[in-house]
Subunit: 129 residues, 2 copies
DNA sequence: GGGATTTTGACAACCATTTTCATTCTGGTT
DNA sequence: AACCAGAATGAAAATGGTTGTCAAAATCCC
């Protein structure tokens, strides 16, 4: 039954940026939800497999998840300070990856592209300090 | 004392693709080298910090390293079967990332781009089987 | 040589993630 | 309402890559 899974999905939807499984778990617990860590992991994995959420790895190896607006292929522009995320499309990049692969005889070409930066609000805050 | 570090660097240079710390350690040991796992990790980290080797994360969260030919900024086309890696440049991608960031008010924009595929040799082998 | 400093590595600690497995739901059936 | 098979749940234990600890060994400096 998908009650738990939906709860996880909802929690994710309420977040601005990418959240780790442990984050989601902690937040749900502090909201009074009765759920186990294992279930959160399982739900997140199922959602990711079904393409309902996007996954990426932080520099320290943690998996972080995000409920994205579009189910289409897209990439992310992530603020490295506050985690705020903008979904971006890059048709040029798709084409580039495909042609680079073909050029070297590679087939079944896929790619990962993520862009990081400091968002306007955060760089303003940094200047102020 | 860069003896150990150099040994690690050399081992890496002998490899075609990306290797994990544990891989490097195992290979050095089987070559008769007297080195500890801790030291391999430290050497790899130092080399990565110094820009001497490139790092990326596999899907299962392992860090993998590679001694790259150029110290310049570049990306990788990696065979998902045999790990063979081709270094590729993508001026268009650099520009795209930069402009996408600027468009949304982000500063200090960086990006990660990796392309995966099945190389000619591996797809031939797959067809043969 | 002798002491200060750095490097090394065996081992223990960490910590996110998985696995295990017994218990609790769920829905369907009689 | 009782029953049951199969899926879902979660507490606790296992896993495994990576990092910390700390004493021994190598190296440097005077």
């Amino acid at each position: 039954m998908t009650t738990r899974r939906d709860a996880v999905h909802d929690t994710l939807r309420r977040s601005e940026g990418f959240r780790s499984a442990q984050d989601v778990y902690a937040e749900m617990r502090s909201d009074g939800a009765k759920i186990g860590l294992t279930t959160v992991y399982r739900a997140l994995q199922a959602l990711a497999d079904g393409g309902k959420v996007d996954v990426l790895r932080t520099d320290d190896g943690e998996s972080v998840y995000r409920a994205c607006a579009s189910g289409d292929h897209h990439h992310h522009l992530v603020c490295r300070r506050c985690g705020r995320t903008v979904e971006v499309a890059g048709p040029d990049v798709e084409r580039w990856a495909e042609s680079v692969g073909a050029e070297h005889g590679f087939t079944e070409v896929t790619h990962t592209v993520e862009v990081f930066g400091t968002c306007a609000a955060c760089s303003a805050a940094a200047r102020a300090s």
